[in-house]
């Protein structure tokens, strides 16, 4: 991706300042419609969901006690995986956004909720609700873009380290809850500071997170296996919990990747965001910086309605069960203002996001210019760029860019002659 302001054609160039403010007004009206009509039905939805999730989790854990019998292991592990996904996605994430605060029920409230995840709810609310949702897709400010360990933009200079980023991304997916905890703490940045100079706030948050990780791990990997021990299911329970955690991690990582990472989702340059960004401008950035996953009710539920990522980013505090009905209105608004409503099925979005991870792990234009025929010479270039110094890299990069331009020209000429 290239930040929107560096693109040859800015997709918002056709909008006037007045248009942008009008978009804000129209989106506010859509939001108000939901606020005016939320009520008993919505409250019943979240209460029922929490109830179902609690029972599913307890039931699955009970089944895992008998995990010495293989079908029970499968049943318990599938149930626990689903329970953990529901808890993190449709319940935890959304409750912590304050989507249900309007019910004034202290038990289902952003200020009291704690979720089944390595990161503490306080840490998450800061890095996700505050930083990511406010500075969505601003390179260098929104840590969700590559979590600080990946190359997410052509303008980030390529170094050989990035060759490993598909691997990092996969490892991060498997241990995603710990990745989130680390980046809530801004662990990388803080660990670079000498120990005695780290802020008291960081030390305190670190202690809280470690305490939570210990309690979470004790529950999943000690207490439940021990409870299953008399039934001969200790190993099965341990494995079931481990698998459920990994499934939840990979699933939530995938959904989140689909939200902001597929090709075509816009990113923004820090310097191009005005100090006093208006509500309309903020809305516009959310509209272009998110992508939806199309699908049925189960997809929406299991993604915590982050399948409606665009609607979620426009209205992070509206109850998630309402995004589906808001979506057509939002889509109409996109059409009215000639903007790209980015929506595709899960496999497509996931492929697109992974394709981008791989593409950016390689030098700019390397993937695009590689054909089966020139593969040997391309690999030679890549090898040279990876093993030799910056000078070689710069020269090779220039050649790649030139090659890409030439191929583009050739392709357009070919298209031209074909048309003629």
């Amino acid at each position: 991706m290239t930040t929107i302001t560096r693109k040859p054609e800015n997709p918002t160039a056709h909008l006037t300042e007045a248009d942008i403010e009008q978009i804000g007004i129209e989106l506010d009206a859509i939001r108000q419609d939901v606020i005016d009509s939320r009520g008993e039905r919505d409250a019943a939805y979240i209460r029922r969901l929490v109830d179902v999730q609690r029972r599913l989790e307890l039931g699955s854990r009970a089944v895992l006690l008998g995990s010495a019998i293989p079908p029970l292991w499968v049943l318990g592990t599938v149930g626990l995986s689903v329970a953990k996904i529901l808890e993190n996605m449709e319940i935890g994430h959304n409750v912590m956004h304050g989507q249900w605060d309007w019910m004034r029920d202290p038990k289902i409230h952003s200020t009291t909720w704690e979720w089944d995840n390595a990161s503490t709810s306080d840490g998450w609310k800061h890095s996700h609700n505050e930083v990511h949702h406010t500075y969505t897709n601003i390179v260098g400010k929104d840590n969700d873009l590559g979590y600080g360990i990946m190359r997410v933009d052509e303008d980030q200079r390529w170094v050989p380290f990035y060759l490993l980023q598909p691997l990092w991304n996969f490892v991060n997916a498997c241990v995603f809850e710990y990745g989130i905890a680390a980046y809530d703490l801004e662990l990388g940045k803080n660990l670079r500071i000498p120990k005695e100079k780290r802020s008291a706030e960081f030390q305190e948050n670190l202690a809280k997170t470690l305490r939570k990780i210990r309690k979470q791990a004790t529950k999943d990997y000690v207490v439940h296996p021990l409870l299953a021990l008399p039934f001969g299911g200790a190993v099965g329970a341990l494995a079931g919990n481990l698998v459920a955690n990994v499934v939840r991690n990979v699933w939530s990582h995938s959904v989140i990747m689909c939200g902001h990472f597929p090709e075509g989702v816009e990113t923004f340059e820090r310097a191009a965001i005005p100090e006093d960004e208006t509500r309309g401008e903020w809305y516009l950035r959310q509209m272009l910086g998110s992508a939806n996953i199309s699908g049925g009710k189960v997809t929406h539920l299991m993604t915590g309605n982050l399948s409606h990522q665009i609607e979620h980013h426009l209205f992070p505090d509206l109850p998630s069960n309402r995004y589906a009905e808001v979506a057509p209105k939002v889509q109409a608004l996109f059409e009215k203002y000639d903007l790209n409503y980015h929506e595709a099925p899960l496999p497509q979005q996931l492929y697109s996001a992974w394709h981008k991870v791989v593409r950016l792990s390689l030098p700019n234009d390397w993937l695009a210019t590689t054909t089966p025929k020139n593969l040997p010479s391309q690999l030679k270039t890549l090898w040279a760029m990876s093993t030799k110094g910056p000078k070689v890299r710069r020269a090779a990069q220039a050649r790649l860019t030139q090659l890409a331009r030439r191929q583009q020209v050739a392709a357009s000429e070919q298209a031209g002659s074909a048309a003629a």
Binding site: R41, D51, W102, R104, K107, T218, H224
Partner: protein, 383 residues
């Protein structure tokens, strides 16, 4: 006001267990609980148990509506089975009830209309007020099985022990509710008390008298002397007519419950004559007309003024109050604080949020300070 002592309340159940056996049992219990807690973290064990048995001992206090009995066209009695931790009450006391109306938890206070009952249930009698969100919901749209949040009974509007020889009870409208609890309690005893009781009750019309059958029945059985007034034919109760209605007024401590106008008049009348008066006031549910801007008082007493377009967060910060904050645009919930009293206006859509002590959530109503401006004086639980 009557000095309420704990002696009136039924002794709390149990107490510390003694002896070796109990200690062991308690230890096992504590150990089992800590294992259970470590098995359900990060959930609270009690929150989880609430999904299965919300009325158990140790649960946050709530109650299940067993029965909704219409009293008049606009009032009904709700018989409620309270959670096991209900500590009991004295007739005349009130209970704070948390009701989900249109999905929103709202709190109101109602008098308990029975003495302690043999079946352990409690009851409140609610009159649907015009435009009253909660009262209309409870009277007209509440079905048996509905769960309500409860607080423990409270209030010092109770009869003294021992009972005086003579009593005057003055009630108007739904002001009869605490008094009916007192009367039911007295007359359900095997030997009714010998106290000479006069009840003056004023209602809008004959059809509007709540518990009409019952109080007329007490009068017919000679248990009380009833003076029933109907505003449509008799006009409002005039305190100057008390001497006429109750010739031995001076010999009777007076217990009164009703609209503020009546209670104010009674207080003036009784204090001028040096007579004993106990009153129970129903608090208004809404604050005085919300304004634009106002003074925000913090828990430590600091006061900050803000106009109707300045978020409380900004005003407080510029006055040097250390505030929790986040996105400053109403999306991250990093600035939420409980509003204890007063009203605030959401700057995004003008929506009002009101907190009234004793009527809304006891812990305060959470507000987003970054998008809320004061709408009149208000206080925020933060320092």
């Amino acid at each position: 006001m009557v000095d309420m002592t704990t002696a009136h309340l039924p002794a709390s159940v149990g107490g510390r267990p003694t002896g070796l056996g109990r200690t062991l049992r308690e230890r096992v219990r504590t150990a089992a609980r800590s294992v259970a807690e470590s098995a359900v973290t990060p959930l609270d064990l009690d929150d989880l148990l609430d999904h299965f048995h919300p009325l158990r001992r140790g649960a946050e206090l709530s109650g299940r509506v067993l029965e909704v009995v219409p009293e008049t066209a606009q009032s009904a009695t709700l018989v409620i089975k309270p959670g096991r931790d209900w500590a009991g009450h004295v007739p005349g006391q009130y209970v704070r009830v948390g009701v989900d109306v249109e999905g929103v938890r709202l709190w109101r206070t109602y008098s308990l209309t029975h003495g302690p009952r043999a079946d352990g249930s409690i009851s409140i009698t609610v009159k649907a007020i015009e435009g009253g969100t909660v009262s209309n919901h409870l009277v007209h749209r509440t079905a048996p099985g509905t769960m309500l949040r409860l607080a423990q009974a409270d209030g010092d509007f109770v009869l003294p022990q021992p009972l005086p020889a003579k009593l005057l009870l003055v009630t108007a409208g739904s002001g009869i509710t605490p008094v009916i609890g007192m009367l039911r309690n007295l007359f359900s005893r095997a030997t009714p008390p010998t106290t000479d009781i006069v009840l003056i009750h004023s209602a809008l019309s004959r059809a509007e008298v709540i518990f009409a059958e019952e109080i007329r029945g007490y009068a017919a059985r000679g248990l009380i002397r009833l003076v029933e007034l109907h505003t449509d034919t008799d006009g409002l109760l005039d305190v100057d007519s008390l001497d006429e209605l109750v010739p031995d007024l001076a010999a009777r401590p007076t217990y009164a419950c009703g609209p503020a106008g009546l209670l104010d008049a009674l207080e003036a009348h009784h204090s001028a004559r040096g007579l004993v008066l106990h009153t129970e006031r129903f608090r208004p549910v809404t604050v005085a007309a919300p304004g634009e801007g106002g003074t925000v008082t913090f828990a430590d007493g600091r006061e900050v003024s803000a106009d109707g377009s300045t978020p409380i967060l900004d005003a407080a910060e510029s006055a040097g109050v250390l505030m929790p904050s986040g996105c400053r645009m109403g999306i991250c919930m990093g600035c939420v604080l409980p509003l204890k009293e007063g009203a605030v206006r959401d700057l995004r859509n003008g929506a009002l949020t009101v907190a009234v002590p004793g009527e809304t959530d006891p812990a305060g109503v959470p507000i987003q300070t970054c998008v809320s401006a004061p709408a009149g004086a208000c206080s925020v639980d933060h320092s």
